[in-house]
Amino acid sequence: MATSVIMPKAGMAMERGTIIRWLKKVGDPVIAGEPLLEIETDKVAMEVEAEVSGTLIQVVREAGEEVLVTETIGFIGAEGEAAPGPGGSGQLEAGAGGRKGGVRATPAARRRAAELGVALEAVTPSGRSGEVKLRDAEARRSPAISSLARKIAEQEGVDPAGIRGSGTGGRIVKRDLAEALARLPASGRALARSPLSGPRKIIAERMLRSHLSIPQVTLNARADVTSLLRLRAEMNREIEERISVNDLILRATAIALLGSRAMLATIEGEEIVAYEEINLGMAVAVDSGLVVPVIRGADKLALPALARLTAELSGRARERTLKPDDLVGGTFTVTNLGMYGITSFTPIVNPGEGAILGVNAAESEVRLEAGLPVERKVMTLSLSIDHRVIDGAEGARFLQSLVGLLEKPYRVLL
């Protein structure tokens, strides 16, 4: 009896996931606990392990497909066992039924699309259950085009809708495409086009939302971190945990926030929300973009514990094993571009939070002390605030207290 592989519900808020790739092919043996496929949600990418041992006998949902949680996406059975066909289980049928014939479309949309020579796959559906409606088919009167020309257009990333066809009845043929391509400026030709999806889509939506709905102002302050860096070097010689500059800044930020609760606020609709917890989002760059795992109750963590947690979270971020629940609940974010030598930038407030701290590289400068030139390490801190709910003076006071902590680093150890 085959066991179904389902789209797991990896977090409380997860409703659907996208299959990135199957790590096993149909016919491959699988062992319980072995990674079977990679999925991504709107927040995180992760591996799904096989629940049972056996042979992967059927893949129901392919890479690239978005699937509701708990829906069957494949089957593990005995070697040589026949895959349960559609209808083998009610769940499978329900899942696959909508896909029969490819695209979900109303009869009217199908008829009209055929009349207009529109490929239903190319139409953006607007129906309540994701179906292509008549209006959608009519909105996309894609031109008649030969299959060769269509293929070239796809390869070159050219929209055939803008090309005048010279074939019978205005049909677009290969030569039209060649002419159209020749007219294109070389710089304007797309190298590749891919759907905006997964983490990139989420990043894009959140950044745009922040940019459009939050008036932001960035305040820059400089902190002399000479002692801080010296302290870090000494600590790392003495204790087991490796303390990063970022850990020290996270710790200082958590302490500074205790005295600047105005930073922990946002606007939801007609309400101002003041957060109780100091949950620090920690921006981590990964291959697929950016993830921001959250350190909950950061003010309650002593430096070694904080360092262990940040190491674990950034490791899991790079291994794509973060769970959706690791990514929610932040009340303030710290983003660090110092390792790239960046000396100042304007971070964008994470929607749902009131402020974000940008951390820059520590630079050497010469300062005069008692008339003598000395080398100091100075770091710029770039704080962006939601100016609707946080005033400039409040942001400045927070930065001031943060600079104070960083310049007298024993205070971050208290």
Partner: protein, 325 residues
């Protein structure tokens, strides 16, 4: 044009046909001196006398059976059943005798009779006096089934039903008896089997009949203020069915909502949905076919529950918006 009530239109149809054709007669419970439970036949006994306006015992089987016998032997009886719910008592006479005779005698017998019966809820008459059971009669080959929604249609359809040489179940709407509408004084008939587009529209087709036609029209007028253009097709007769009008309307609008007062499950609305799904109109559908119909419960006595056991303007409007979403 003059306006008369639905009940008066029915009385006029019967009286005119009785004047026109001496073989037409009328029988039923309390239809004579009392003028019928809903006053439809007030005064008819004075004009036509007790031979042609005959009070009967309370026996629906006898009324329908006698009508079938009279019809097959050359008369054109109109039988009134006081509440359509009680046609069930005469259902053997109607469905197993009257409906079958033409076929079983190889076409050498004809059964020109009309069973008039008030149907529907809304009068606080509870579960046994409020049903809409047209689907039962539609399911018996050999019967014609008529459900007029206006005084004009009631008069014209009843005259056609009386002149028809087959048994016709003529389902009147209790709540419409007092409703007035324009009816010409000159002679006219409305043919059986022809639907009436009560309102033309381009966005969505409502197929309906009986009392619901008026409710659908009011909803359509209200929605028109928002630019939602609903076509209301009143079937008028369910058997024979004007398939062409339904199919053409759905081809035009691409959306079909069926509204009937009868309970939804196994209702005649399902037949309309299947007709469209199996027609050229299928390829024009831009949304699923939806029904707004009575709930699958006996009609409650409580007036609020009674009102909500059958379609309401709110439910119809919601369904229209939903289908066009």
């Amino acid at each position: 044009m003059r306006e008369i009530t639905y009940a008066e239109a029915i009385r006029e149809a019967m009286s005119e046909e009785m004047r026109r054709d001496p073989s037409v007669f009328f029988m039923g419970e309390d239809i004579g001196v009392y003028g019928g439970a809903f006053g439809v036949s007030v005064g008819m006994i004075d004009e036509f006398g007790p031979e042609r306006v005959r009070d009967t015992p309370i026996s629906e089987a006898a009324i329908i059976g006698a009508a079938a016998g009279a019809a097959v032997t050359g008369s054109r009886p109109i039988a009134e059943i006081q509440f359509s719910d009680f046609v069930a008592i005469g259902l053997d006479q109607l469905g197993n005798q009257a409906a079958k005779m033409r076929y079983m005698f190889g076409g050498r017998a004809q059964v020109p009779m009309v069973v008039r019966a008030p149907a529907g809820s809304g009068t606080g008459a509870a579960a046994q006096h409020s049903q809409s059971q047209e689907a039962i009669y539609c399911h018996i080959p050999g019967l014609k089934v008529v459900t007029p929604s206006t005084p004009y249609d009631a008069k014209g359809l009843l005259k056609s039903a009386i002149r028809d040489n087959n048994p016709v179940v003529f389902l009147e709407q209790k709540l419409l008896y007092r409703v007035k509408g324009p009816v010409p004084e000159e002679e006219y008939t409305v043919p059986l089997g022809r639907a009436d587009v009560k309102r033309t529209g381009r966005d969505l087709t409502i197929v309906t009949w009986g009392r619901m036609a008026g409710m659908c029209l009011e909803t359509a007028v209200r929605l028109a203020e928002e630019g939602i253009d609903v076509e209301v097709v009143d079937l008028r007769s369910l058997v024979p069915l004007d398939k062409e009008t339904v199919v053409e309307s759905v081809k035009k609008t691409g959306h079909l909502l069926i509204v009937h007062e009868a309970v939804q499950s196994a209702g005649y609305g399902g037949e309309i949905a299947a007709l469209v799904a199996d027609s050229e109109a299928f390829f024009y559908l831009d949304a699923p076919i939806r029904r707004v119909a009575g709930l699958d419960v006996p009609i409650p006595y409580n007036p609020t529950l009674e009102r909500n056991a059958v379609p309401t303007p709110e439910r119809i409007e919601r369904a229209v918006r939903d289908l066009l979403g």
